[in-house]
């Protein structure tokens, strides 16, 4: 149904008089046909219609003056019912045109590379210039992006805050990138401890050894048998180290943890190692450590026994590929050749990088450490 309105034939026309109809109800009309004659102040004008259809009702009669916009007549489009009695034309049943099959456009492929945090180009440059590890920076820019200011703030940090941030960055990277596997074993440390006590009883206090030293030496010697726990993961491959530089985890009184290296442990005797170890801990706690002592460890050793924990589950310090942890020395009933004795035992744990070694290597390592600690005089 559509309407034919009194048109506006001039900017100032408000009304017009219908003079004459040129069509009748039921008549088919086409676009452009003159359907009426209208009189305005400008004169008498033929009015055309701009649609095809069939005249339905003539609503205004000749001689009537009506305002612009008044419905003069109604029309029916193709297939519609007429208001006036007419032979209803059976509408052609035209099936709606088939919607064309649109070839689906495959969605863009998911990017396969994992993108890390957003870092502005300027921030990246600044971080390189200031030697700031971007892993350690929290972004406060739009969408959490790292900005120059964020980098500079980290760079300006010193002391415990900076260390905490560095640890956070390293541990996050470790847990994100290194597939850890864990193995543990209980070591009967009685022989070593007894041997140590006898040694220390005959030495002045300044030359006595702490039990960590034989543990560290045993670890270094065992790595000779399992070299794929001793070295660095660089980009996408393992670089074995000839020598064993053991990073010793030392907690700082003011908070924080560092693991500087004892170098070439496999080739040093226990007395030398004790001296170096003692000196290293003292210097670390007073802040006199050199950079190479931090960057060179090929494996890390951590002992939390004195804090009272039985077992450690350590986290590998990248780019190393393994870490060995020891818990506290506890007295336990122990079965030896069928009878029970009280022995002082310690739990040793290995965490290792599964990209480089398998459980088998780890097991051989721990077993070797265990065996070595049963013969302390050979360390």
């Amino acid at each position: 149904m559509s309407e034919f309105l009194m048109p506006s034939l001039g900017a100032d026309m408000e009304s017009g008089i219908l003079v004459e109809w040129m069509v009748k109800p039921g008549e088919r009309i086409h676009r452009g046909d003159t359907v009426a004659v209208v009189e305005t102040v400008k004169g008498i004008i033929d009015i055309e219609i701009y649609q095809d259809g069939v005249i339905d009702e003539l609503r205004v009669q000749p001689g009537e003056k009506v305002p612009v916009g008044t419905v003069l007549a109604t029309l029916i489009g193709e297939g519609e019912e007429m208001a006036v009695q007419q032979e209803p034309k059976a509408p052609e049943e035209k099936a709606p045109p088939e919607k064309p099959e649109l070839a689906p456009i495959p969605p863009p492929a998911e990017p396969t590379r994992r993108h890390g945090p957003r870092i502005s180009p300027a921030a990246r440059r600044r971080a390189a210039a200031l030697h700031v590890d971007l892993e350690a920076v929290i972004g406060t820019g739009p969408d959490g992006a790292i900005t120059v200011q964020d980098v500079e703030q980290v760079s300006a940090e010193t002391g415990p805050a900076a260390m905490r941030r560095a640890i956070a960055a390293a541990m996050t990277r470790s847990k994100r990138e290194i597939p850890h596997y864990y193995l543990g074993t209980t070591v009967d440390l009685s022989y070593t401890l007894t041997w140590l006590e006898r040694q220390n009883a005959e030495r002045p206090i300044t030359e006595r050894m702490v039990y960590a030293v034989p543990l560290i030496k045993a670890v270094a010697l065992a790595l000779g048998k399992v070299p794929d726990l001793n070295g660095f993961w660089v980009k996408d491959h393992f670089e074995m180290s000839e020598s064993v530089h053991v990073g010793v985890a030392i907690s700082l009184r003011q908070g924080g943890l560092v693991a500087p290296a004892l170098h070439d442990v496999q080739s040093k005797d226990l007395d030398t190692l004790m001296q170096e170890f003692h000196d290293l801990v003292n210097r670390t706690r007073t802040g006199h450590i050199s950079l190479s002592e931090f960057t060179k460890p090929t494996i890390t050793f951590t002992s939390l026994g004195e804090q009272g924990v039985e077992i450690t589950y350590p986290i590998i310090y990248p780019p190393q590929v393994a870490i060995v942890g020891f818990g506290s020395i506890i007295e336990r009933p122990w079965s030896i050749e069928g009878h029970i004795e009280s022995r002082r035992v310690i739990k040793a744990t290995l965490a290792a990088d599964h990209r480089v070694s398998d459980g088998h290597s780890g097991a051989v390592f721990l077993n070797t450490v265990n065996k070595l600690l049963q013969k302390p005089e050979a360390l």
Partner: protein, 86 residues
């Protein structure tokens, strides 16, 4: 040497290892390990310091007697009087 003097030396050695203890209250009966997180190297340094100041030997088996302030003072007092007697 009086008990007071021994106590001063002991405290000085403790503070040299744990500077944050300066001016702090120390529970005389509580284990060093529990009170201020002494590990084996800390204790060794402490024992070496006491050994050097008081010029007495401290056998490893006696370390447990020195694990608290009260224990330290009692042990060192007895060791000093013993040495003096020798």
């Amino acid at each position: 040497m009086t008990q007071g003097e021994i106590k001063d030396i002991v405290l000085k050695e403790l503070v040299s290892i744990a500077p944050e203890l300066e001016g702090e209250e120390i529970d005389p009966d509580l284990d060093f390990r529990d009170q201020f997180d002494f590990d084996s190297i800390d204790f060794l340094n402490f024992a070496i310091g006491v050994h050097e100041k008081l010029e007495i030997d401290i056998p490893e088996v006696d370390y447990p007697k020195m694990s608290s302030l009260t224990g330290c003072i009692a042990y060192l007092e007895s060791r000093l009087s013993t040495t003096a007697k020798e």
